[in-house]
């Protein structure tokens, strides 16, 4: 019995040792910084803002659970804006308003994100594909201006994200890499006739070990 306990303890020690060693080799924590171009879709595009937004940035801290899986936190920010020429809007059957309407939305998602790299960040491969999924909250500020008069709504909304892309290491020996990718973003929103603030985003940035 005593011998059995010693054997099991030895095996666990070896497993923990191998695991820690593997993590050390993989670089446990990586940071990513990226530029984001966002394109509204659905009712967000058709009813509110059709312009793409070139004003977006993001960052992530990812912990490598294994060579293939990473888990971490993603924060970002995006500014959407569209100004419509003066037009007359019927607010009621007997009320009309003529105004230059400007829609302005600021989006700041805070997401728990997981990344799967099927090739396991193999340094011998220069192009490493990945897919990602994330969910969390989006801190949204939605303002609509009629002329200079605005009404604003700030709220935290559920957000889910699915993405894919490739990363390209700086060199064969480097743990740092460029990456380019795209994400589909579902952002729930139900106000003023809008169903959601869904977008497709294009991203380009760098990831490096901390």
């Amino acid at each position: 019995m005593k011998r059995r306990i010693i054997n099991i303890t030895a095996m666990l020690a070896v497993l923990v040792g191998v695991s820690l060693s593997a993590q050390a080799q993989k670089g446990a924590v990586k940071m990513g910084l990226y530029y984001d171009y966002s394109m509204p879709i659905g009712s967000f595009k058709s009813d509110y803002i059709s312009n793409g937004s070139p004003r977006g940035v993001g960052g992530e801290i990812m912990y490598n659970l294994s060579r293939q899986w990473g888990l971490g936190l993603n924060v970002a920010w995006q500014d959407y804006y569209q100004k419509y020429p003066r037009a007359i809007y019927s607010l009621d059957k007997n009320q009309d308003i003529s105004a230059v309407v400007t829609n302005s939305v600021q989006s700041a998602p805070i997401l728990i994100k997981t990344v799967f790299s099927p090739l396991g960040n193999d340094r011998r491969t220069m192009i490493q594909p990945y897919i990602s999924a994330a969910a969390g909250l989006n801190l949204l500020t939605n303002s609509q201006y009629l002329g200079q008069f605005n009404s604003s709504d700030a709220s935290a909304r559920f957000m889910a994200q699915a993405g894919a892309g490739v990363q390209i290491p700086f060199s064969k020996l480097s743990n740092s890499a460029f990456f380019v990718g795209a994400t589909y973003n579902y952002i729930s929103y139900n106000k003023n006739g809008l169903n959601n603030f869904n977008t497709i985003d294009l991203q380009a940035g760098v990831r490096f070990p901390l």
Partner: protein, 210 residues
Amino acid sequence: MRKSMILPGLAALIMLIAASCTKDPLKDMTAEDSRIYITNYDSTANFGSYKTFSIADSVAVIDNGRATKEISVTDQAYLDAVKKYMQQQGYVLVNKSQSPDLGLNVNRIYRTSTGVVSYPDYWGYYGGYWDPYYWGYPGYGYYVPYSYAVYSVTEGAISVDMLDLKSAKTTNKISIIWTGTIRGSGILNASVADSQVKALFDQSPYIKAN
């Protein structure tokens, strides 16, 4: 840098970029863009059935809950513009002693002590600004259709109200059958009065004498 500082640092960096990149709608707006024109009308009124109109010879200035009658150069420009566009729509200007079918009042509304002029209050005190005696109907009350949309004014506005004097004798009340409100930058200026009143009439094509 300590790892515990990385996440707040990343968030601060993104917020800094966000603050510098957000597009401010108010900085992307001319004085003309800043203005809004709101019109309400009584859907039961037959605007073609009225032939003549008269207009008050001064403007009610509603400021901090008090009303005075004034006639500045700007006020006169607004009165002249209202006369011009009513005549263009086929109505005949007559003296108020000649029993006009329609009466028109122009008002300047300023910020109140509470910061807001709400329109139910505005109409509630209408008899205080414009005593029905002025139009030859002492003791009558004003009537505003419930279907008029409610809105608040938090800073300067000009409003034009059209009164049904033709029906007053039979209904024992003076109905407000149309209101036009102008809000935004630079409206208290004689040089823009004509274009502001024109905008109200342009979005009210139903105001036309047969």
